[in-house]
Each structure stands twice: as structure tokens, then as C-alpha cells.
Amino acid sequence: MLNAVAYDAWILHALIWLPLVGALGLFLLPESRAKEFAFGWTGGIFLLSLGLLVQFDPGGALFQFTSTATWIEMWGVSYSLGIDGISLFMILLSTLIMPIAVLGSYNYIKEREQGFYALLLLLQTGIVGVFASMDLFLFYVFFELTLVPMYFIVGIWGGERRIYAAVKFFLYTAAGSLLMLVGIFYLYFQAWSVTGAPSFHYLDLVGTPLSFVEQLWLFAAFGVAFSIKVPVFPFHTWLPDAHVEAPTPGSVVLAAILLKLGTYGFIRFLLPFFPLAAGHATVIAVMLGLAVVGIIYAAWVAAVQPDAKKLVAYTSVAHMGFVVLGVFALTATGIQGALIVMISHGISTGALFLLVGMLYERRHTRLIEDFGGLAQVTPLLATAFVITALATIGVPGTSGFVGEFLALLGAFERHPVMAALAATGVIFAAYYMLPMVQKILFNSLEREENRTLPDLDRREVAVIAPLVALMIGLGVYPQPVLERMEPAVQAVVQHVEGGTVDWAGQGVLGSDQEEIAYDPIRSVGAEPAGSDR
């Protein structure tokens, strides 16, 4: 039925540009209607995006829904879209989080609503664009485009030190991505000199032959950019600041989606582009080391935060450590785990930020010590909070466990010591999360002002419930996600290991990849006639 209207031809374009249309449309409405409109719009987009799940063929080509159009002919820049299993879920995550973030900001954003929601929608355009881009240039444009709305969201609707946080966020991430831009150019020229035609298209760049030293440099350029975005220890200090100052929906989007741009970049670009560097023992050791340090260190730091939001922010760093660990395990299991952690973190940390935001709306404080005993007056909130907290620390049965387990398992196959160290993160996760849960929800209701806090209303339940359901759903039955991501992940792993990957087609070819020696020239210009790009 959906095919009748050529769903796969327009859906990605619609997902990217509809938010922008909505952003403009917001200004045609009175300010009082802005939030309803934004919710309806993002919700509609989410419903549209659900079709992706139906239409995506797990056994089909690696990249689906592809479409391409020349953008800047001279430079070989194309407006090329396409998604694989990885982007599929990143996009779905984005489209899901957006309406929730909008719904979650109904009470928080009280002024300049049009501007706020317009920026949020603009942000969505950028985010979906990043995930759907098949062209490196296009990717970069969207990647950067996400900065501006977030900068304004933090800077305008943020807290006391919002400007500091916004600018830090902006400069830090921009610094990384601009370095990546130089790297992109290097890669582009290298590919150009091989293929004889300029192109930024992913499929044209992915097999570019580069010497090891070149790969190392480019790996650094791309890696730092993504590491800042992730953020990988020690590039993480912008994150707590940004989170603390950002308004709730900003934090939600930041944690749930924006951080994923970095890890997505790791998997989508860093590994396939620079397999020699990514597969080098020292590089892996460094990345894993940073991941492990990040996991443990961030957990420690989180544990002593007096501000609930900051605590959650630091937990993000720890979680992203698991992602990096899984990615640089360079095993299918590890990367799958990393991806699940990404999704799970998006859901659970997003929910946690929403919950902290709800507390803030009620009490106008985020200091943990200002709460206590809330479970008695706000049982629904407490329930949601506890479930979310458990998902965050990866209790089995929640999505957090599946991700962390797979990531650690995948890492352990190759790097047992690192993985074992990282696994101590499960201890420290309890160490940071439970005291907060206790201090906020449990203990006695000492403060008078806490006695009269209202419980979640219907809107808030509507915000949290889908997330909670997903946390558990993904924890119990992650397979639909895993199996759709599998081909893409296998392709990356095979590529890094020197196997042959048919990027334009179905990914990993046959079962005898091991025998094929790594030939750096192989995939250059090797574009099967069947590919529809």
C-alpha cells in the first residue's frame, strides 16, 4: 500500500525537509498554538518514519531508500540519501525523541515558544540529514547544521550560565568538525586522484587507498571530531555544562540524539574509511583505553555530583564509553552492542532528563539534596524514574543491559583486559545511580515543599510511557533491531578486517571473505551496474 505512493522514494526527503517546513509554518500560527502544532508535526513525522521499519528489507541491499541528485556538480557533491540498518534506527530514534521532547517542553518553555520549536524542528532536519546522508559533503553540512539550533536552544532557554555552556558546546564541537573537514578534503582529493572524477559520495570514498600514515592522520582528524561529539574522555567537559544549562528538551535531544552523531560517525565513516588505522593495535588500544577510562571515570565523577542533571550528564559520558568500547572491539557483536547502547541510551537517558526536568518544573531546583521521599507523593514519577534508572545502569530485561552486554562481550573476545575493566562500569553504574534514586525518591519526606508536589499528569505520562515501554521492549526483544543492523555491521567489520565488502550491494560477499587478501584499490570505481545510486 505504501509502495503505491512510492514511499521509499520520498520518505527520506520528507523526513529531512518536513521539519524545516514545519519550522517555517510555526511562524504562521499564533504563539499559543506553537506547541500543539510542533507536537502534531513531529508526531506526524514519526508516524511517517515508522514506515521505514516496514519497508526496510533486512535481506536487501546494504543501503536502501537510496536516491541521488547532483548538488554541486563541479565538486562532485551530490544530494544523496540512503540508509542502512544502522541509520534506520538512528532515524527512528530521532523521529521518536522529537515529539517526546516537544511534549516534554510544554511546561518548561514558557516564552518565545515559536522560536524554540522552530529551532527544535530545524535541529531535526539536521539530525535526520546526518543519518540519511550518503554524501560526505552533505553529511558535513548537516553535521554542522545541528550545532546552530542547539546553540540557540541552550543559549536562549538555558539556565544561569547558559551562554558559557552554549558557546563551549559550539566551539568545542565545531573545532573538531572543522578539522574533520580538512580530513574530508584530503580523502576527497585522494579519491579523486584515483577515480579521476571528483565525488564526495560515500560509496566512492569508502575504498579509497591510503597509506597507513595517511590513514592515521585522517583517522585522527575524523576521530577527534567524532570523539568530541560523543564525547569520549577527555573531550567530555562540554557535555555536563551543556546539559546542566540546557532546557529539558534540549538536554533530551542532546543526549538522546546529538551524541549519537559522533558514535554514528565512528561506525559509518571512521572504520570503513580508515581500516588500516582503525585496525592498528595501538590505535585500538588508545581508543579502548579512553573508553574504559571514560566509563569508570565518568561514573566516579557522576557519583559525587550534587546536581541531578549533571549527574545524568556524566552518566552519558560513561555510556558513550561503552559505545566506543563496542565499536573498537571491531567485532560484529561489539558494534551491535554499541549500537544498542546508543539507542538505549537515547531512550533511557532521554527519559531521565525528562524526569529530572519534571522535577525541576515542580521544585525549580535540580539539587539532589533538595528532594527526598518523593516516591510517597509522586508514585508514578517514582516508578518511571526507577525503571529508567535501572535501564540506565543496565539491569537485564532493559535495553541498557542488551547493549552493554553485547558491547562488552564483543570487546572481550579481542581485548579481555579492557573489557573486564570496562565491566566494572556495571558496579560503578549502581554506585552513581542508586544513591541519587534514593536521595530523590526514597528517604523521608523531610522538606515541607516536597509534600505537595503533584504526580505526573497525563501529558507527562504520555511523555514517559513510550520511553519506558521501549526500554523494556528493547531489553526483552532486541532482535528486530539487531537483525536489521547486522548486515551493515558485518560490512564494517569485514571491511576493517580486510575482507571484501560490496558497499553498493548487499554488503558482505559470500562466506569466503577471509581468503581474499586486502587490496586497497579494490573497491575504487567498483560500482556494480545493479546499484541504484
Binding site: T70, W71, I72, E73, M74, W75, R112, Y140, V141, F142, E144, L145, V148, Y151, F152, G155, I156, R162, I163, A166, V167, F170, L171, A174, A175, L178, L179, L181, V182, F185, Y186, Y188, F189, W192, S193, G196
Partner: protein, 506 residues
């Protein structure tokens, strides 16, 4: 029609835009004087309209020139795409400046006729700078432009800052002119000619890298470096840009800089093409220093106008990368960047004029507090200009920077490319700072409801200009393809056919 300068009448055709513009300038001058004589206040819109008409005519003539061709590639007047593209830049810069200047000129009671006439005449000078292959003409054009610029800087006689800026600009400009002239003299001595095309032939045909030529290149680099405000020859720029009346500043930042770059490119890329390796380090260091120093110093500026001045210097640094790269891609990038830069810098100064109530007040960052919410359209436009100046995706500034990076990458100037992007990060800070004052800070002592800002002057031409400029910037940021190709083709004439990238590898 093919022009052969052996026949003098063909010079008239080749110089049609310049001639048309000169006549227009004189018409404006006369009209102004006539109005003045009648004792009526000078009407900026009327005279400005006249000037704009002249620019339009010149533009038509410029477009007409595309239909002509020249004999050889060494005539005293160049008839190549490079020149014509440059002419577009100058005409555009002048026109935009005039459009945004109406109210300012009136409110400041500047002498309108002379003001616009000087702008037009300066534009004529620029067109000569870009349109000739002879160093004598380049020098004369440069002087015409510079002298007009000195005057435009010192134009507001009631403002001592304007006078001070004028004096500084004049003294240092004349000083640098001395170096330039001396450089021309030595170049002449080294090659025996003042025609850049013949110089190239001479250098390759035996003159080689003589001692005089080396000194000449250095001195010419200094002379042009001063005009394009390359560090360390930039010291005048902030003071002059700050002190000059805002329309003059806009004009200088856009057109004067563009003209200097055009001449710089032609001299170095054509005349000294054969000795690229020897002047390359100079340009490398100039570019690097300019980017670094200008962006760093801009960080500390609390005065928006002065900040934009440093920003202008910094942009000069990015453009110098293109000269250091010295290939067609980079040159095309330079042209494209100058085009975008013209739009965004005039746009930014336009906003500045609006906010400063068409005067030289309220230029501090604090004055922009909460502006965005009080004047949302103004805020959004300024944000667009700032983002473009910062080189953010979606704006023309980004595409320009990409173009420059392409050129630098093609020349394997990776270090410069890295410096470019790192300093761009630095520049984000000061551009963003304006935006955060506008959007993230409450207005000082004001409720800040839209429309309450009584001192905001944004007459219709200004609004049209700002919106159009912003629109073009966005357009260039999203669909730059045609203009990019156009710039590339325009740059082609400076290079022997073989060095083109399209069709070949890097």
C-alpha cells in the same frame, strides 16, 4: 567583436564600463553641485539613485563585454573573465554600499553628491586595477581608489574619529604606496616592462630570478599586502574601519579589499607565475599570520565595528590562502569568496548602521543586548550574516571557504588549510558573541517588546538590500553550483589551459 588595441578606438569599447561609470560619476557630481547651488538639501535617494543608475549602466556595459574577445593575452586592457567577474564585484560592492548608505548620509549631513561621486570614481579606479595588465595602470587605478578611499574615510568632518582615521589611512597608505611604487620600479628594472603578461614572458625568457626581481616581488607583496590588510601590514585597518563613516567602511571592507586582491592575484599569478616557488613562502606566511593574528585580536574587541574590521582582516587571510595556492581552483575560490564576502560584509555593516541609528553611536556589544527579540527580523538577518562570515554551512560563506579549501587542498597546502579551519573556530567565538548578545542576553533596562526601539532606522531601501543580501547569501550557500562554475570559468583566463582541474586530476 575582437578587440585589437593597436586601434585606439577599440580601447573605448574595452573600457566601456569604466567610461560609463566615470561619466555617471561626473553626472552625480554635477547634479549634487547643482542641487547644492539651488540651496536645496541634497537628496541622498535621488543622487544615490542616479549613482545606482550609473552602476547599472556600467553593469550592462560589463555584461556586453562578454560578447567581445581580445587579440592575444597581453593587451594593456585585459578582456578576460577574471576582469569581468572582478567588475561585477566592484559594481556590486558600490551599489550595495550606496543602497545601504542613504539614510546614513542624510542623517550625518554628508555631502551627498561628492560622496557618491567619489564612490563611483573609486570604483572606476578599482575597475582599472582589475582590468589592466599594465603595472602603471594598476598603480594609477590603485591610487585613484585609495585617494578616494582616504577622502571617504575622512569624510565626516564633524567627527574627529573620522578625521583621525583618514589621516592614519592616508599616511600609512601613502607610505605603503611608496613601497609598491618602488617595487614596480624594481620590477621594471628586472624585466624591462610594466606589462604583467610580458613580465612573465621576460622572466621565463631569460630575466630569471634576478636580485632586482626578488626585491621587487617583496616590495610588491608588501604594497598589495597593505591594501589587502595582510598582517603585519594591517595595522591601519581596525582604526580606519572604526573611524570611517559606516558606509565608507562597508565600501572599503567590500570593494577596496576586493580590488586589491584582484590586482594582487593578477600581478603575482600572471607576472610572477614562473617564480612561484620563491614568493610562495611569503604568501604562506602572510596568509597564516593574517588568519591567526586577526582572528585572535578580534576576540578581544568589544566594539562591533572594530570587531568587523578585524574580521575583515581575517577574511583577507583566508583569501591570501588562495593566492598562496596559486591555482585555478583557488583563484576561482577567491572570486567566489569575494562575491559572498561583498554581500555578507555589506549586509553586516548595514545592520550595524541600522542599530547605531545611522550614526556612529551604539557600536558596543552591549548595545546589541536583546536586540534579536526586540527586532527579530534584524536579529535574524544579522545572525545570517554572522553565520556566513563565520563560514557556517548553509550560507555562502561556507561555500566560499570550501572553495578556498579546495584550492588549498589541490595545492597540498594542508597546514594552511588546518590553520584556516582552526582560526575559523576562533572566529566562531566572536561572531557568536554578537549573536549571544542579541539573543541570549536581556536588553539593558528595557522591557524589550518589539517596536519599542525607537532609534532603529531601517528605511525601505536598507530593508530591501538587507533581505536581498541575506537571501542571496543563503542561496549561495544552498545552490552555489552555477556561481561556482562561473567563478571557475572566470578564473580560467589567468591560467594556461593545461593547468585546469576539470578533466584532469589534481
Amino acid at each position: 567583436m575582437e578587440l585589437d588595441f593597436a586601434r585606439q578606438s577599440h580601447l573605448i569599447w574595452a573600457l566601456l564600463p569604466e567610461i560609463v561609470l566615470s561619466i555617471s560619476a561626473m553626472a552625480v557630481l554635477l547634479a549634487g553641485v547643482w542641487k547644492h547651488e539651488e540651496g536645496r538639501p541634497q537628496d541622498a535617494h535621488w543622487l544615490g539613485g542616479l549613482a545606482l543608475a550609473g552602476l547599472l549602466l556600467a553593469a550592462v556595459a560589463n555584461g556586453w563585454l562578454y560578447g567581445l574577445s581580445e587579440v592575444g593575452r597581453d593587451g594593456i586592457i585585459a578582456l578576460d573573465g577574471f576582469r569581468l567577474f572582478a567588475n561585477w564585484l566592484f559594481l556590486l560592492g558600490a551599489a550595495l554600499t550606496i543602497v545601504v548608505s542613504f539614510t546614513y548620509v542624510e542623517r550625518q549631513r554628508l555631502q551627498v553628491g561628492e560622496f557618491y561621486a567619489l564612490i563611483l570614481l573609486a570604483t572606476v579606479g578599482m575597475m582599472f586595477m582589475g582590468g589592466t595588465r599594465d603595472l602603471i595602470l594598476i598603480f594609477l587605478g590603485l591610487e585613484t581608489m585609495s585617494i578616494a578611499a582616504y577622502v571617504l574615510t575622512a569624510y565626516n568632518r564633524r567627527d574627529r574619529r573620522s578625521a583621525e582615521a583618514g589621516l592614519k589611512y592616508f599616511l600609512l597608505g601613502a607610505f605603503s604606496t611608496g613601497f609598491l611604487l618602488y617595487g614596480i620600479a624594481l620590477a621594471y628594472g628586472a624585466t624591462g616592462t610594466t606589462n604583467v603578461a610580458e613580465m612573465a614572458v621576460s622572466i621565463e625568457g631569460g630575466a630569471g630570478l634576478s636580485g632586482l626581481l626578488v626585491a621587487a616581488m617583496g616590495l610588491l607583496a608588501i604594497g598589495f599586502g597593505f591594501k589587502v590588510a595582510a598582517v603585519p601590514f594591517h595595522m591601519w585597518t581596525p582604526d580606519v574601519y572604526e573611524g570611517a563613516p559606516s558606509p565608507s567602511t562597508a565600501y572599503m571592507a567590500a570593494a577596496v579589499k576586493a580590488a586589491s586582491f584582484i590586482a594582487f592575484v593578477r600581478v603575482f599569478l600572471v607576472a610572477f607565475e614562473g617564480v612561484y616557488t620563491s614568493w610562495f613562502p611569503i604568501l604562506w606566511w602572510l596568509a597564516a599570520l593574517t588568519m591567526v593574528v586577526a582572528n585572535l585580536v578580534a576576540l578581544t574587541q568589544a566594539n562591533v565595528k572594530r570587531m568587523l574590521a578585524y574580521s575583515s582582516v581575517a577574511h583577507g587571510g583566508y583569501l591570501l590562502v588562495a593566492i598562496a595556492a596559486a591555482n585555478q581552483m583557488a583563484t576561482a575560490g577567491l572570486l567566489f569568496y569575494l562575491l559572498v564576502y561583498t554581500f555578507m560584509t555589506v549586509g553586516a555593516f548595514g545592520i550595524l548602521m541600522v542599530v547605531s541609528a545611522q550614526s556612529e553611536e551604539r557600536l558596543q556589544l552591549e548595545d546589541y543586548s536583546g536586540l534579536g527579540w526586540r527586532q527579530p527580523y534584524l536579529g535574524i538577518l544579522f545572525t545570517i550574516f554572522l553565520l556566513s562570515l563565520a563560514g557556517f554551512p548553509g550560507t555562502g560563506g561556507f561555500m566560499g571557504k570550501i572553495y578556498l579549501l579546495q584550492g588549498a587542498a589541490e595545492a597540498h597546502l594542508w597546514t594552511l588549510a588546518v590553520i584556516l579551519v582552526l582560526t575559523t573556530v576562533v572566529s566562531y567565538f566572536y561572531y557568536l558573541r554578537v549573536s549571544w548578545y542579541m539573543w541570549m542576553r536581556p536588553a539593558e533596562g528595557g522591557a524589550g517588546e518589539p517596536g519599542e526601539d525607537s532609534a532603529i532606522f531601517a528605511p525601505l531601501p536598507m530593508r530591501v538590500a538587507l533581505v536581498a543580501t541575506a537571501g542571496i547569501i543563503l542561496f549561495l550557500g544552498i545552490f552555489p553550483g552555477n556561481i561556482l562554475d562561473f567563478a571557475f570559468v572566470s578564473a580560467q583566463d589567468l591560467f594556461p589551459p593545461a593547468s585546469g582541474l576539470i578533466g584532469g586530476g589534481p
